[in-house]
């Protein structure tokens, strides 16, 4: 529970950019496109796996209006990762700006910069390419078979941190962990479940696709304006890829039209930077929706085996989770995503015998990347489906089974130390957990007491309820760092400069609230600028559910320092000790009464009158914990047993995110994530042909829910107070997406007895399962 009353935080104030965005004022990269910008277009590979045997760009180069054509023959060959992660990156170096080897349908062949889009597209058509077509790897299970085609046979491919990496076997990463002894745990069990589950491809579908532009300034520096979640990683990786110093690159992030993880990746920026350098003209590149689906990043599909043993009394004796993850054509985020599959779900239930294996394989399909949930989404499906399957076996209510086993405040788990982000993790005890209250509140809202077994249901349309418990993390402990600069202006306002990246979540508002609360002023007095690698201090960026918890602490720390400076100046002006003063309503006041000075007077005094100095400071923060937010999700569905169609009637998400700094934004994060998860569970599906070409890379055929599809949804924020977080806050942005897949799978089973273990839960799968008596032979999907 919240321990104190707040003035600015924990209040649903107007978002600081709300009016700007609502009025459609220029905010996004595309709004700032210079009129004279050259347009970039990319020629994509028609083959999933091939080697270019010859390429002729001469006709394209000669075309009027074409300024530059890039291909593997005229750019530096520097191996790198596209993953926007801390240095040294846990993702393998396996990518080049351009290569003669094609690894997926859509892979970069050549890029053209031209006066218009039409000219650029015409130029692509006259580039002559001949390919030696190679057999592709299109299924996870085929990737590591003897004799499988090798996706990365180039000598440069390597891991930069000491982790298993065997590209000759198409293995991009591997992690293995055992606590206790799984086999012993399973032997002690009264019942064992052992099933395979498959999480399918999914795309983030930001309304604003990847978009970047660049120009070269008079000092020959490359200025990149880009829709990115990781401006500082972007700067570092672009410099590395172009073989130029970091100081030659500046990255500016304006507003982002949605990211969800897909913009934690350097997808366009290397090419726009190189084009700007070569042409000395502003250049602009925006992905089409088809390119966004195929050439940006996706959720890593995973084939999972979940083994669980339990006693009849509900004690879990062993848990084994094996994840075979498809990272596609490059290994971006592959290791850390699969680590999260273990580290974000295995501590959720108490168990002494746990085994986890995560193996990441290359295929000739679109690349996985960071996506909201980041591996936990995949594992939650297997884990929480298996919890229901076990509850059925031992004859317990799934809610009771979860309630008696889930982690609680004061508990720890050896998994926290055993599994970090690509390396060993950090010991931590749970200091805030209101999962029990989440379960209770969610069960009450959905009407769990009405739940009956599927065997008691009759008729064509049958309703059922399912649930799932979830946990995530808040930032990456001992790895990620955020920083903030704060300075005071003459009118008592403050500039808050942050590397933290608001990708549409409202984090600029949340962080400004933290600063205002600490400074004793109002939200409108905080002028936020984020992020610009020349102007704002370093921050790893917006990922790993870190912004509120990590960057929020950096802001809180710098605001504390500035508050001290303000009090010191106030003491000088009021002729008393700083300890006799406090801040309130943008004023320094004597605690005992009898004197006050406004922030404006303090700023003017410090700037112009005596002991002149700029009130301001910078603060960095690295966190030592990653306190999990917790959630209990409940779904009620209706299944048409004749057609297999599934309709979500109601969805309840009860979440403990500590103190919600901005409750409305926190609710919005949960609602958005749940919507995102529901359509991932039911309708989103990559369809490929047998050559690895995606057949539905557009919103007409790849179906997302719109507001008119929204089921009744209820979000319940169950407050706790996380003592290590800013004003008791933990994260909230990712956890919500992890629930719909298992909660809906469990609800379908409860409705009609069909157990679906491969996403998405299409009508045809449900119908076929019912035809087969509730169980289908397991099949790897896409």
């Amino acid at each position: 529970m919240s321990k104190r009353k707040f003035n600015v935080v924990n209040k649903p104030l107007r978002k600081i950019d709300a009016m700007t965005l609502a009025l459609g004022k220029p905010s996004y990269v595309g709004d700032f496109k210079p009129n004279d910008a050259l347009i970039i277009k990319m020629l994509g590979s028609p083959h999933a796996h091939a080697r270019i045997t010859s390429i002729d760009i001469s006709e394209a180069e000669k075309m009027p209006g074409v300024h530059c054509v890039l291909y593997y023959g005229n750019v530096p060959r520097i191996v790198h990762t596209t993953a926007g992660q801390g240095y040294p990156e846990p993702s393998p170096y396996d990518t080049f700006m351009f290569d003669s080897k094609m690894r997926f349908v859509g892979d970069r062949v050549a890029a053209v910069a031209a006066e218009t889009e039409k000219i650029a597209e015409a130029a692509l058509k006259v580039i002559r390419v001949e390919y030696e077509v190679l057999p592709p790897v299109l299924r996870i299970q085929d990737a590591m078979k003897d004799g499988a085609p090798i996706v990365h046979d180039e000598p440069e491919a390597r891991a930069v941190i000491p982790v298993p990496y065997e590209p000759k076997k198409n293995m991009a990463a591997q992690v293995d962990m055992e606590i206790g002894e799984l086999e012993k745990g399973l032997a002690e069990a009264d019942e064992v479940v052992d099933f395979q589950y498959y999480n399918h491809y999914g795309q983030h579908c930001p309304i604003e696709p990847h978009v970047s532009m660049a120009h070269v300034d008079r000092e020959n520096r490359i200025i990149i304006t880009t829709s990115t979640q990781v401006p500082f990683h972007c700067r570092r990786i672009v410099a590395q890829t172009l073989d130029i110093p970091v100081r030659q690159v500046r990255v500016i992030k304006p507003r982002i039209g949605g990211g969800f993880g897909v913009k934690q990746e350097i997808v366009l920026e290397d090419v726009v930077a190189m084009m700007a350098l070569r042409t000395k003209r502003p250049v602009y590149w925006e992905y089409t929706r088809a390119e966004e689906f195929v050439s940006s990043r996706t959720r890593h599909p995973m084939l999972m085996r979940l083994r669980m043993g339990a006693k009849k009394d509900g004690t879990i004796t062993g848990i084994g989770l094996d994840c075979l993850s498809n990272t596609g054509w490059n290994g971006s985020q592959g290791l850390t995503v699969v680590c999260n599959s273990g580290s974000k779900m295995l501590p959720l239930y108490r168990c002494d015998n746990i085994h986890f294996n995560g193996t990441v394989v290359y295929t000739n399909l679109p690349a996985g990347g960071a996506y909201r949930g980041y591996g936990a989404t995949q594992a939650a499906f297997a884990f929480e489906s298996a919890m229901d399957e076990m509850a059925d076996k031992i004859g317990m209510d799934p809610l009771e089974f979860r309630s008696m086993n889930h982690i609680k405040s004061g508990d720890t788990s050896p998994v926290f130390r055993a599994l970090g982000e690509g390396r060993e993790g950090v010991d931590q005890a749970i200091t805030s957990c209101e999962l029990a209250r989440c379960i209770k509140a969610g069960a009450r809202e959905i009407g769990w007491k009405r739940r009956k077994p599927h065997t008691a249901k009759k008729g064509r349309y049958r309703r059922g309820m399912g649930m799932a418990c979830l946990m995530q993390g808040s930032a990456i402990p001992e790895i990620d760092m955020g920083a903030a600069t704060l300075k005071m202006n003459e009118d008592g306002s403050f500039n808050l400069l942050m590397g933290a990246t608001d990708l549409g979540t409202g984090s600029d508002t949340v962080l400004a609230q933290i600063a205002a609360e600490q400074l004793g002023t109002t939200l409108d007095q905080i002028i936020v600028y984020s992020s610009d690698t020349d102007m704002t201090p370093f921050d790893v960026g917006a990922y790993a559910s870190s912004t509120t918890y990590l960057s929020g602490q950096a802001v809180q720390n710098v605001a504390q320092k500035v508050r001290k400076q303000i009090l010191k100046v106030g003491a000088d002006m009021l002729d008393c000790k700083a300890s006799e003063l406090t801040v309130e309503d943008a004023k320094v006041i004597k605690k005992q009464g009898g004197g006050e000075v406004s922030f404006s007077e303090i700023a003017l005094h410090s700037m112009y009158s005596s002991n002149q100095f700029q009130i301001g400071d910078i603060s960095s923060k690295i966190v030592h914990h990653s306190p999990p937010p917790f959630a209990a999700h409940f779904a009620e569905v209706e299944v048409d047993t004749l057609t297999g169609a599934v309709r979500v009637i109601k969805y309840v998400a009860a979440a403990d995110c500590g103190t919600p700094i901005h409750p409305k934004l926190a609710e919005g994060q949960v609602e958005g994530a749940v919507m995102n998860g529901i359509c991932y569970a039911l309708t989103e599906e990559y369809l490929f042909n047998d050559k690895g070409r995606m057949l539905n890379p557009n919103f007409g055929d790849y179906k997302l829910y719109t507001m008119s599809d929204l089921p009744e949804m209820k979000t319940i924020l169950v407050p706790s107070y996380e003592k290590t977080g800013p004003y008791g806050a933990k994260s909230i942005a990712e956890i919500g997406i992890n629930g719909p897949l298992p909660a809906i799978a469990n609800a379908i089973h409860n409705a009609c007895g069909a157990r679906i273990r491969t996403g998405p839960f299409t009508a045809e799968k449900v119908w076929r399962s019912l035809q087969a008596g509730g169980e289908l032979p397991f099949e790897e999907g896409h």
Binding site: T643, Y705, T706
Partner: protein, 279 residues
Amino acid sequence: MNYIDFKSPTGLAEARSMLKELGDRASPVAGSTLHVFLRDESPKVAVDILRLGLSGIRLMNGEYHIGATTTVSDLLEHRQPGWVLDRVAKAFVTQPIRNMATIGGSAVRVFPWSDLPIALLALNADLVITGDDERVMAAPKFFETQPFHHLQPGDLLTSVRVPALGAGQGFAYHKDRRTSTDFSRCTVAAWLALEEGRIADVRIAVGAAVPMPRRMEAAEEALKGARPGPAAFAKAVEAGIDTLRWKGLHGISDEFARHLASVLIVDVLTQAHEEAKGA
């Protein structure tokens, strides 16, 4: 589409004359919502047909005369006895599209997901083509092939005539889709008339899961004279289902498309029967 010019005639004769003169280079344009799906890159002159006075819905002698440029929104909002196209218009993607799309455009060029042709087949609509002469084509003939093939340069589909639903008659329409904005995976419509508790006449039409919208005549024949009910409907579907070639769209198998159609046809027959009974 590659438009090089735009013409805006204000009368039918002027429009027809322009279309005739331009021949293959002309593209009649009303709501334009289908143009995004057309892949013809040859230079075209867009001829706006929205100002020809072809919009509006009138009831004459038990038949609705619907101008070809009447928007789907208008179909949705219209209320008069025996009017049923609002049920179809409701399933027609989103309001912004309904505001632009016209009944004529939806009829002239058929896509696998088209909504209106299936309803027009079930309702046995007549389609009026104005050329040098006025021709009236019954829906089954009109949709036998891509309807624009019936049009010579200068011809325009000018109106659609749909019988008003009478006493003892029922109509139902269903479009199966994953989301409210989705293309159809299977669309079915049924119209039936009861006399003395038996099916005097019936029409069943399907689309999306078949290459072109079609009537399921074998099922209709099986139902004529029969007492309506679940058993009769199921038997009729059995008689007709394999007379058409089923094609799964959007990731579903052909087998499931066939199954889906068989379930949904029974559903629309049941609903149409309920309406015909006056339930």
